[in-house]
Symmetry: D2
Subunit: 330 residues, 4 copies
């Protein structure tokens, strides 16, 4: 449940306000260059407090490699990466111990587990994604080795697709104690043909599951996605030429298997549920209460989700690469 | 790769023009009523040739239960269900042995496997979903036992959201040798709170992977989905009252765990890639050729996808139900 | 639960007296020669009724390949193999519907599942191994491709290690309505170094689990096995020379990974539990009853277990071979 | 590969001379009492240096719980346990960087991974079992909750079954720079009927795999084990009475499913491969060399293996308990 991947797997652990977050990456090929310095830039891209649109929380998220690396290169053994937490103001959350924040997992965790670490959302906090980014950074090193790269961009913030107005959209929402969402787009380039497997092992199925497993993501599409539903077959099918596909409506995947074209994915990111505007909710006694969530929250998580989504995609792709090699030499 | 599910799993097999398709369902609880007659209505909903918008192919798809059922009830042992194929005109496909049909998996399968059964798309054919429906029918029997039901509907055909015009949209496309796609919506009702697990075991992640694993589906969204990206937090968060959630923007899932409200999913279905209009492609020699796909194809797969999507959702939910019970009595 | 293997997996189904047994083999590399004729000789080695030491039951066990093979070679798609049952005398078992046979799984299945197919032991019957042998035959074709071979022999029957007296030991037991067990030994030759993974993925751990998963096997040892417990380190360690290991006390596996030497395994096979001598037991009402099991049972299963154990070993090895290839080209 | 278990899983990491070992336990039910103090006694039973028969190495093995526990009880979230290493004399191992120690995994790891942490055996060191014991301690807390207990004992050291002479056998071997092995026996009591699944999910298969996955174990048997091979069916079958089974030759498992009687397991432990007597081997250049392994090694690992084997058994049983609950309420 906390493990992702079949051959290249990562198991994350840690709660928002616990002593540390971390991840164990298993199945990494040996001989790949890896140091804390190679991981840290990915952590930095996810870090809050980098500009005025983000929570001012201080989360340095320095990583420590505990195993699986010897003299700067991976050994094929499990790679444990620790992200110690800095002292946190748990006190901020005492008032929320028994109140269910709307849009958060407080209610469902309470009913499912009974006993939970409520501080900052505990395990359901977005802070958990720090561990995914550390794992993704390892995956990226392996993908580079195979000539595969990933990039991403913001397409929309709060329905506005003008990049010059993204910051303003976020600051306006922040100003009134509210939050906004947006749409992101990812590209994987350099993928060989043949990644993915038929039926339930489709590459797009794995990607969709990986993306929707990011807490704030509520929609995923590949290639034309929802627009494909409004096209005719003669428009949507990608003609083939000697030089390759003439178009890429399919988004780089045919029948669940990569076709050599760039893989194109878009995800819908919901507005952050933590807002300071008053909201109606109930507490663990079932009583109706009003809450206004104070604290240093992100009015828009979209800019910080980019690297998380890239890392999940990297984890899907390196797993598919390792799977693809299993028939070598038959 | 051909197995879906952790505790309630199904393994499908079979190619479009082989002697039979089938599925082995493993992990079904014992004592559930099951006969061929209880499965057949689901097969019927998927069957082509039922009206003028569908392929006129004759695929009776009669199921035979080979194991796991004794005296009309399941025994907890693996349930093998066979769907023998009727004689098929494989000859129709001889001309396509070495030509890659645009929008199909011919090209990627050829590159990945080298040796493939090209007839009717072989394993990548939509016919494979017959086996999923048989498995889903077993899942449905188990869900009924737990008070969970699933239904679905068509929201759009070719961008048109007027149900009275769905048939016309399809027939117009068929008339000109083209195809169209659409959008479907699914609802799961009666789900208890607590289905799904944190982080990588999120119920919405499993649903997204399951839906995107259906060949024709290119986009998936939960609750407000892509619309959530355009909402503010104060609009999107579902307020809680003593009587439950005031709204269901979340689509029945919070933090990856069902919250007791109906689960709401929408999927984008691409236009069928088999069209009789001429298309540009290449053959296995790399030569450019033009093809026009003859045969009895569906001009729109949307009506037939409904039951397949319902069955995939049923498989996800029964698996989550079994997972949820693992902590019973601690 | 009815699936074995990670990358090369098989899922078996079927009960002793049901319409058919079968298996779905998933993950087989494409291009491997496979026909019914290549599988049948393995079925023949497992078949009862071949000499006076075996049950005279007629189980022709003809296999039918339903999928995954095209024009005599595998396609990489799941290979379904059906083994239709011939008409059986279910009536023989009516008297055993509610009586628990000592040494059989009747009692534990009854308590675990409530509703069970009691005829001939249902799913717990040794007949289930026919499906494993069919899967193993596919694995063998893949191993041949990689230069790996497996053979086995009987070391002991009823404590007697003289091969000339094996048949007599069995016939004496049969004569008095009793049964006997024995010890078998397996060898895998031609394995490359590097099969298996550290810690929980050890090759010997996988072998031990596979062997102990055969119903009649109660003990497994690798290399010197239990004799190693009585040796000193200076005797047990295998010295290394330029030409290789001087001895093979380790049985071809060091640290869970194959070392290039033959892999050597021994298994203890218990006496068949079905005997005609009177036995004390209880029925499903909890009443004490005496039973004498009539029917055509094997007085010793050891000769028929050989091919089953070889096939399980083949399944473990081909899975390890595919796993080993995942790091190719890094 | 470094993860064990399906529903209650543990993923271990760490090398002998790295900064820390550790484990992530996933799938633990919520509400189970857990603190470092409840884990530490298990670590203590595994610790070297406790008497003259053991290595005098100082490995305090203090555990730190990093996640998954809140206010002294588990939350259902992954439990990360860290075991920081104390400063080690890595220098001792410099001379062994390119020499393959007989009976160790140096050779196979070198060939499989190329780049390895040679210090103290790296990942293949018995030190890795410290992480398993920490995980097992968590499993034990869950088993207590269900009324299940485990105990173990030494049956033989170097072929001698007189407990009064075990210490002497070890000290004699130590004196001459050699090592010895032995046989251990485990009992699980209080197991409900119904643990384990048919065919490939048999409880005894899982136990055999778990035990053989301990580095020093070369043989496993259940109930009568190898002795069963020398018995007749009339001797080996356990008669049933109103009050239960009259004997327990089966070792508590019938058809792969627990029958309510104590589960009885015996394992063969090989002599420790690290001995100071001179041995013939080769180095990574393929040259023949003689080595004599200096350092503080255990002349017999049997006393320290007991708790490791108990912990692996605990992990198998709690996983089977959780699996068994999946059908609750159908």
């Amino acid at each position: 449940m906390n493990t992702f991947g079949r051959l290249f797997s990562c198991t994350t652990f840690g709660e928002s306000h616990g002593p540390a977050l971390g991840v164990v990456v298993d199945g990494c090929p040996p001989g790949i260059p890896l140091t804390e310095d190679l991981i840290q830039p990915y952590m930095e891209r996810r870090r809050p407090g980098r500009d005025s649109t983000m929570s001012p929380r201080a989360e340095p998220d320095h990583v420590e490699i505990l195993s699986g690396v010897f003299e700067g290169r991976t050994t094929g053994m499990p790679i444990a990466i620790l992200i110690p937490s800095v002292a946190q103001r748990s006190g901020d959350y005492d008032s929320l111990r028994s109140v269910f924040r709307p849009g958060h997992a407080d209610y469902t965790y309470h009913l499912k587990y009974g006993h939970r670490d409520h501080r900052g959302g505990g395990r359901s906090s977005g802070r958990e994604t720090a561990a995914r980014v550390a794992a993704g950074a390892v995956a990226f090193q392996c993908l580079f080795n195979q000539g595969i790269s990933i990039r991403s961009r913001i397409l929309e913030i709060h329905g506005n697709s003008n990049p010059d107005q993204f910051e303003e959209e976020i600051l306006v929402a922040k100003e009134r104690g509210d939050s906004v969402g947006g749409i992101i787009e990812l590209f994987a380039e350099g993928c060989p043909t043949g990644l993915g497997d038929p039926v339930f092992g489709k590459l797009d199925a794995a990607i969709a599951g990986a993306m929707m497993g990011i807490g704030s993501i509520k929609g995923v599409e590949i290639g034309e996605g929802f627009a494909a539903a409004r096209m005719s077959g003669s428009e949507h099918n990608d003609p083939m030429q000697k030089s390759g596909f003439a178009t890429n409506h399919a988004g780089g995947i045919l029948g669940g298997i990569s076709n050599g074209d760039p893989i194109v994915i878009r995800c819908a990111v919901k507005p952050t549920p933590s807002i300071s505007l008053p909201q109606q909710t109930i507490n663990s006694e079932g009583e109706e209460v009003e809450i206004s969530i104070r604290g240093r929250h992100d009015p828009c998580i979209v800019p910080r989700v980019l690297v998380v989504a890239e890392c999940m995609l990297a984890l899907v792709l390196i797993d598919a690469v390792l799977m693809q090699k299993r028939f070598t030499g038959f």
